[in-house]
C-alpha cells in the first residue's frame, strides 16, 4: 500500500500517496478511521511530502477526519504540503480548521516572494 500509517504519542501520522483522488481516498479514510478507534490517538497529521496531485476527494478526507477528532479536542495537522496543495486547501475553505507545521509558514512566505 502506498500510504503509511504510524502512531507516535497521541498523533496518528499519515503519509499520503502521490495521487489523492476518489480511488485512493476510500482506502485512506477506512484505514485512518480504524486507527482512530485506538483511544491513544488524539490528533492526526497529514504528511503531503510525496503528494503531487489532490482533487476535491482529498478535501473530503481531511474534513471528515477533522469532524472526528475535533469532537474530543483533537487537531488536524498538515505537513509538507506544496504550493498547489495549499491552494486547494485554501479554495475549499479548510484553512481555518487545520494546523500547519512550523516549516509550512516558512514555505508560505517563500511562495509569496
Amino acid at each position: 500500500m502506498e500510504e503509511e500509517f504510524r502512531i507516535i504519542d497521541h498523533y496518528l501520522m499519515i503519509r499520503l500517496p502521490e495521487e489523492i483522488d476518489h480511488k485512493s481516498c476510500q482506502e485512506i479514510s477506512r484505514k485512518a478511521d480504524r486507527m482512530l478507534l485506538d483511544s491513544e490517538v488524539k490528533h492526526v497529521v497529514f504528511d503531503f511530502s510525496r503528494t503531487m496531485f489532490m482533487d476535491s476527494s482529498g478535501v473530503g478526507v481531511l474534513a471528515g477526519r477533522y469532524r472526528k477528532v475535533s469532537c474530543f479536542g483533537g487537531k488536524v495537522f498538515v505537513a509538507n504540503a506544496n504550493r498547489r496543495i495549499r491552494k486547494i486547501l485554501k479554495l475549499s475553505g479548510l484553512m481555518k480548521y487545520l494546523e500547519f507545521m512550523e516549516q509550512e509558514e516558512e514555505n508560505e512566505k517563500r511562495d509569496q516572494d
Binding site: 495521487e19 476518489h22 481516498c25 482533487d55 476535491s56 478526507v61 498547489r84 479554495l91
Partner: protein, 144 residues
C-alpha cells in the same frame, strides 16, 4: 491546425487517473506551465469522478471525453449517460453534495470553475450530463 482526441471509457475509479493523464499529455504541445497542467488535471479528475460516483453510482457506465486544441484554446467535454442533475445551479454551489456519506466535499464544480476559464453544465435527469470546459494557453506575452 486543430487537434482533437476522443476517449471512451468505463466509469471506474481506476480510469480517473488515466483520464487526467491523457488530458495532460494532450496539452503538452502548448508548453503549459506546471500550474496549468495541474489545473487541467484537477478539472478533468473532478468531472470524471462525478460521472463515476454520481451519474452511475459506482456501478459503471460509459464516459466520453473529447478534447480539442485550436489556436491555444483547449476545449474539453466530459459526457455521461447516467442519472443527470435536477437542479444545476444548486449542484454547482460550493459545498453542496448529495453524497455526504461518501465524504464528498461538494467542491468539484467549484474547482472546475476556479481552474478553467469557462465551465458549462448541460444535464437532463434520466439522460445524462455534459460538462464543457475551456482554457486558453499562451495568453501571456512570453507564450507561444
Amino acid at each position: 491546425m486543430k487537434n482533437e482526441i476522443r476517449i471512451e471509457m468505463e466509469a471506474l475509479p481506476e480510469n480517473e487517473g488515466f483520464a487526467r493523464v491523457a488530458a495532460a499529455a494532450f496539452i503538452t504541445p502548448q508548453n503549459p506551465t506546471v500550474e496549468e497542467v495541474c489545473d487541467v488535471k484537477t478539472a478533468v479528475s473532478e468531472a470524471v469522478t462525478n460521472a463515476v460516483i454520481h451519474a452511475y453510482e459506482e456501478k459503471g457506465g460509459r464516459i466520453v471525453i473529447r478534447c480539442s486544441l485550436e489556436n491555444g484554446l483547449l476545449h474539453i467535454e466530459i459526457e455521461d449517460f447516467g442519472r443527470g442533475i435536477e437542479d444545476i445551479p444548486k449542484a454547482m454551489e460550493p459545498l453542496f453534495t448529495t453524497r455526504p456519506e461518501l465524504e464528498r466535499s461538494g467542491m468539484g464544480f467549484a474547482f472546475m470553475e476556479a481552474f478553467m476559464d469557462s465551465l458549462d453544465v448541460k444535464s437532463e435527469p434520466g439522460k445524462g450530463t455534459r460538462i464543457i470546459m475551456e482554457k486558453k494557453f499562451g495568453s501571456t506575452l512570453c507564450g507561444e
